[in-house]
């Protein structure tokens, strides 16, 4: 599709823009990172998302929102898509969209569920499933830039479902001030001390920051998990205004 050359700053951010798939990476059996190229991308904050629109040959269009997984790198954006059984869009993105194929994107979107590297205080990140994606953008943005202490509590069904596991292990060792803990809901590793089960108050107390540290809390994932965790944090004593949430819908 021909496009007039327009300087990035004058292009309406609200417009749909073409994007090309540059690279795909497997993150877990059901999750793929897609690296999209978007001309004159003006950058984004950790936690923001893009909308991705697909158009079929008959003109049918559908769009979904995906969190940006990494800091801006020139014209390259990364999203991590989890294949949802029976989904309309996610299986296409994870399994069929090929390098060189084009989609449309809108963004960056979202000014509330963001972490700014200039924010100094400790940060508690609680993820359920693919909810880890925007939190990983925060962790990646922090590296080498901020010494704010970060703790990630990541709830997944089984160890195989973890996204970014190797990188999180490396970052917990190397980045300094990052702690990562997993909560398994269906199947835990052999020899683990915590039996499988949903995230609960004990998990937050053991792996999180206490209320008097006044952390910024970011909770992201399926709606039931987000609501349960936000409720537990408030019940523990965290101030509701320090808790920011992003719900991905029913689990």
């Amino acid at each position: 599709m021909a496009r007039a050359a327009v300087p990035g700053r004058l292009r309406a951010r609200r417009a749909w823009r073409p994007a090309v798939l540059l690279e795909r990476r497997t993150e877990s059996p059901s999750a793929r990172t897609l690296v999209l190229g978007v001309d004159a991308w003006a950058g984004h904050l950790p936690g923001q998302h893009i909308d991705v629109r697909l158009t079929a040959e008959d003109g049918y269009q559908t769009a979904r929102s995906y969190s940006l997984a990494a800091p801006a790198a020139g014209d390259r954006l990364e999203i991590t898509v989890q294949r949802a059984d029976g989904g309309e869009v996610s299986p296409f993105l994870t399994d069929e969209l090929g390098v060189g194929d084009r989609v449309e994107v809108r963004g960056p979107l979202g000014g509330w569920f963001v972490w700014r590297p200039a924010d100094p205080g400790p940060v508690l990140l609680v993820a359920g499933g693919s909810g880890v994606v925007p939190l990983m953008a925060m962790i990646r943005a922090r590296a080498g830039v901020s010494r704010a202490p970060f703790r990630l509590i990541y709830s997944v069904r089984t160890p195989d479902d973890r996204i970014y596991a190797a990188e999180l292990r490396r970052r917990a060792a190397d980045d300094g001030g990052l702690d990562v803990a997993y909560v398994y809901t269906r199947e835990a590793p052999a020899g683990g001390s915590r039996p499988p089960g949903r995230i609960g108050a004990d998990d937050l107390v053991v792996h999180g920051w206490p209320p008097d540290f006044e952390p910024a809390c970011y909770v992201c994932g399926p709606t039931p998990l987000v609501e349960a965790v936000a409720g537990l944090l408030v019940g523990w004593g965290h101030h509701p205004e320090r808790i920011r949430t992003e719900r991905f819908g029913g689990s």
């Binding site: 979904r64 929102s65 949802a84 979107l109 000014g111 509330w112 399926p222 992003e246 719900r247 819908g249």
Partner: protein, 92 residues
């Protein structure tokens, strides 16, 4: 956020894209005051249903409908009737 073909409810973060066509300022961080109960909350915290037949955002406190957004090929239809005030932080 990923609307992974799950059912709702979502939250107001899902409104960022659709409302970006209408508002010059980022809207999910704006505070919306509910006409029904008087509570103010960030638009990002609205309880959101949809996207078919349109997006509906409800007050997280009292569940009254604060806003509705419907997109047709040639129009954005926006009903903000449940919001009595919106407060946007303006970048300085």
């Amino acid at each position: 956020m990923t609307q992974t073909e799950t059912t709702g409810p979502y939250d107001g973060n899902a409104l960022a894209g659709p409302l970006s066509e209408v508002f010059a300022l980022e809207v999910t961080a704006a505070l919306a005051r509910c006409r029904g109960c008087g509570q103010s909350a960030p638009v990002a915290t609205l309880v959101v249903y949809g996207p078919e037949p349109g997006l509906v955002g409800r007050c997280p406190g009292c569940s009254d409908v604060l806003l509705r957004v419907v997109r047709t090929p040639d129009a954005v239809w926006l009903d903000l009737g449940g919001i009595s005030a919106l407060r946007f932080a303006v970048p300085t």
